[in-house]
């Protein structure tokens, strides 16, 4: 009982004096991201991306706002991968912690939950991991995304399949596609994009399965694939979806000429499955081999090196786009010359910069229109960019050779 009472008092105190005074000469950004729960793998990548950029900017002397330089700081909350909590925490960041510059959470679902809040409170949010197109169809003015929207993720895989239709022994409109996605906002959008692109070529959708978020077994769907023999298999389900798909495809010896999925790098399919992951096509927002660069990190490859030195693994694109989000904020703050939220918002809208992650320029809805998606293929145990052709390192191998 004593414990309970003390906690209650402490909690009451906490609520009453929640808004901590901020140290001078620091500008604080706020973010509620998934440190626990289903999205915590990618939530962690996001947080590390933010942290790395903040560290680098501070090392380089901070941001110059007006005639003073400020250090950047990020205040985090854990949204536990649940949208309800995300919305609540962002409101808390703004109202109770007095933070008026928000960095986005991880994932479309959470961003969807957070965006109405930032919109209503009129605080600018730069987000790096909410790719859903529906975020940009509401006429919202305070959301800015550094990434390409989700319908573009695997659309290029469909284009590739169409280009290589001959190799598959068919005309483009005879190609059969199986779409297997996790039942969550992000993957639903990926699916929408793929389906739209398929219609362009007149391809047939033969399997359209959505697996629940809790499921770690796809054997029923794979049996369907064995029966209907599609030419293209699209999988999207964050890291768990990629892991499950690669593992069970090889286990059940299901051979599909073109397999494309998202989150290959964050699931580390090459490290986990080796040969079984060969020839898989993977959507990515960014790759270390791209030729972008900036003054802070240097080239994309330099960023990868810096990240790996600090965290011990190669940066997945989720980290890169998050770092870029911090850079965008820093840039906008310098141009605005003030931390006032409206001025920063206007400066953000006028962003036009090149970073190690790619060019960043927002259209009136706030999405980044200056950077294309890329598509990797796993070839000889390495990710190689195969599309778009402008940046491709090599030509895609389609169809994938039969497994032995």
């Amino acid at each position: 009982m004593r414990i309970t009472r003390t906690l209650v008092l402490a909690a009451a105190g906490a609520v009453a004096f929640g808004g901590a005074a901020l140290a001078e000469d620091t500008v604080t950004l706020g973010s509620a991201i998934s440190l626990t729960g289903n999205y915590s793998t990618n939530g962690e990548h996001t947080q590390r991306g933010y942290d790395l950029a903040v560290e680098k900017i501070n090392e380089a002397g901070g941001v110059k706002i007006g005639d003073k330089t400020y250090q950047i700081e990020v205040k985090y909350y854990d949204d536990e991968s649940t949208p309800a909590r995300g919305a609540e925490l962002v409101e808390r960041l703004v109202k109770q912690d007095g933070i008026e510059l928000i960095l986005g959470p991880y994932g479309s679902g959470l961003t969807k939950a957070v965006a109405p809040v930032t919109e209503e409170l009129q605080v600018p949010m730069v987000e790096a991991n909410g790719a859903s197109r529906s975020l940009f169809t509401n006429g919202w003015k305070y959301i800015f995304a550094t990434l390409s929207t989700s319908e573009q993720y695997l659309a290029s895989a469909i284009d590739l399949a169409a280009e290589n239709a001959e190799a598959l022994g068919k005309k483009p409109d005879e190609i059969k596609v199986a779409v297997v996605v996790e039942n969550d906002p992000f993957s639903a959008d990926v699916r929408a994009g793929v389906v739209e692109d398929m219609e362009k070529y007149g391809m047939k959708l033969v399997i359209d399965d959505q697996f629940p978020r809790e499921l770690n077994d796809m054997s029923a769907t794979l049996t369907k694939i064995k029966a209907l023999k599609p030419d293209v298999l699209i999988v999207s389900g964050h890291s768990k979806g990629a892991t499950t798909a690669i593992r069970q495809l090889s286990e059940q010896k299901v051979s599909v000429p073109v397999v494309a999925m998202t989150h290959c790098d964050s699931a580390d399919i090459i490290g986990n499955f080796g040969a079984a992951s060969e020839y898989t096509l993977c959507a990515t927002q960014w790759a270390p081999s791209l030729a972008y660069k900036d003054d802070l990190f240097g080239s994309a490859a330099d960023y990868a090196k810096t990240f790996e030195a600090k965290y011990g693994y190669a940066p997945p694109y989720q980290a890169a786009e998050s770092s870029a989000a911090v850079q965008v904020f820093a840039d906008a703050l310098e141009r605005a010359g003030t931390t006032d939220k409206t001025a920063v918002r206007d400066a953000l809208a006028a962003t036009d910069m090149e970073t190690f992650y790619g060019k960043i320029k927002f259209d009136e809805t706030g999405k980044n229109i200056a950077k294309p998606m890329a598509l990797y293929q796993v070839l000889d145990g390495e990710f190689k960019i195969v599309a778009p052709s402008a940046v491709a390192e090599t030509k895609a191998v389609i169809p994938r050779p039969a497994m032995n």
């Binding site: 939530g43 039942n183 959505q210 629940p212 809790e214 369907k224 064995k226 890291s239 499955f273």
Partner: protein
């Protein structure tokens, strides 16, 4: 439709389902045991599975073949279960079932976040490196690890039955289940019996988890589906019916896989949980005709 045209697909689905069901049955043994003996419904069942899975993953990282992890995970989890009994569970043995539901729910979210903190939320696997079996010209594929899991589940189930029938401890457990007070009067240390029972349950879940890590994948939040499926299997089989647990487990696995195929994977879990409700309502409805209800 396609199921009738191509019966071999049905075979494939059912076989894969049966293999999945055997793994569920393993966790369900433990639940039946704890429920029957201690009158506790252990919501943390799925979390024990998850912990066992992490034991296998750690051994795999350490370069040890994960199949060896099955007994190791069982042993580790036996200790964990024993410790949890001594720390918390012994306080709720004689209490309302509802208290046990909530208390073990508390344990389950605690374990989830602890494992999240320790291992991050990454999806982990332990690759056993076994191959795949082909039947019917490769139309039916069974990964060997699942077959191994299936055999192990049957063997462990058999061992449990023998253990409960023959050994001193097993007899003590059965006596306590029948009437704890009488057992105490006869000089059985029921507290120890409970501790062993709870430990055994955790051990069963642990070996189940090691198999899950090898055949599927694990992460800190996979627990709940295993808990619910265990519960469902026990409800269908009836308390204290070990053969029934195996049959119900296999049946559920097969039914679930078929449902996933027919209804689409998005309704696979809805099917499982809906089935739970239907089974309960149906059993209760039949009893109600006799002015009885499920106890």
């Amino acid at each position: 439709m396609i199921l009738i045209q191509a019966p071999v697909i049905t075979v494939d689905l059912v076989l894969n389902g049966l293999l999945l069901g055997a793994i569920f049955a393993l966790a369900a043994y433990g639940m039946a045991l704890v429920w029957g003996v201690m009158s506790i419904i252990n919501i943390a069942q799925g979390e024990f599975v998850m912990l066992g899975g992490y034991v296998a993953v750690m051994m795999y990282w350490g370069g040890i073949h994960p199949l060896l992890a099955v007994p190791v995970a069982a042993l580790v989890m036996f200790i964990v279960g024993w410790a949890l009994y001594r720390a918390v569970i012994f306080r709720i043995v004689d209490r309302d079932l509802f208290v046990s539901l909530l208390a073990t729910f508390g344990l389950s979210i605690l374990l989830q976040q602890l494992m999240n903190t320790a291992f991050s939320g990454n999806v982990q696997i332990a690759e056993a490196g076994l191959g795949t079996m082909f039947l019917f010209d490769g139309l039916v594929t069974l990964s060997q690890i699942k077959v191994v899991a299936f055999v192990l589940a049957i063997v462990v189930g058999g061992c449990m039955v023998v253990f409960l029938k023959r050994s001193r401890m097993g007899q003590a457990i059965r006596a306590t289940a029948q009437n704890a007070r009488a057992a105490r009067v006869m000089g059985i240390d029921t507290d120890r019996v409970y501790a062993v029972t709870y430990g055994l349950n955790a051990a069963l879940c642990g070996s189940c988890g090691a198999l899950v890590a090898m055949a599927y994948s694990i992460h800190p939040y996979i627990g709940l589906p295993y808990t619910i499926r265990s519960f469902m299997i026990v409800v269908v089989a009836g308390l204290g019916n070990f053969a029934g647990v195996i049959v119900a487990g296999l049946g559920l696995g097969a039914a679930e896989n078929l449902a996933g195929f027919i209804l689409g994977a998005q309704y696979q879990l809805a099917f499982v949980f809906g089935l739970l409700v239907v089974v309960l309502v149906w059993r209760n409805w039949r009893l109600a005709a006799k002015r009885q209800y499920l106890k």
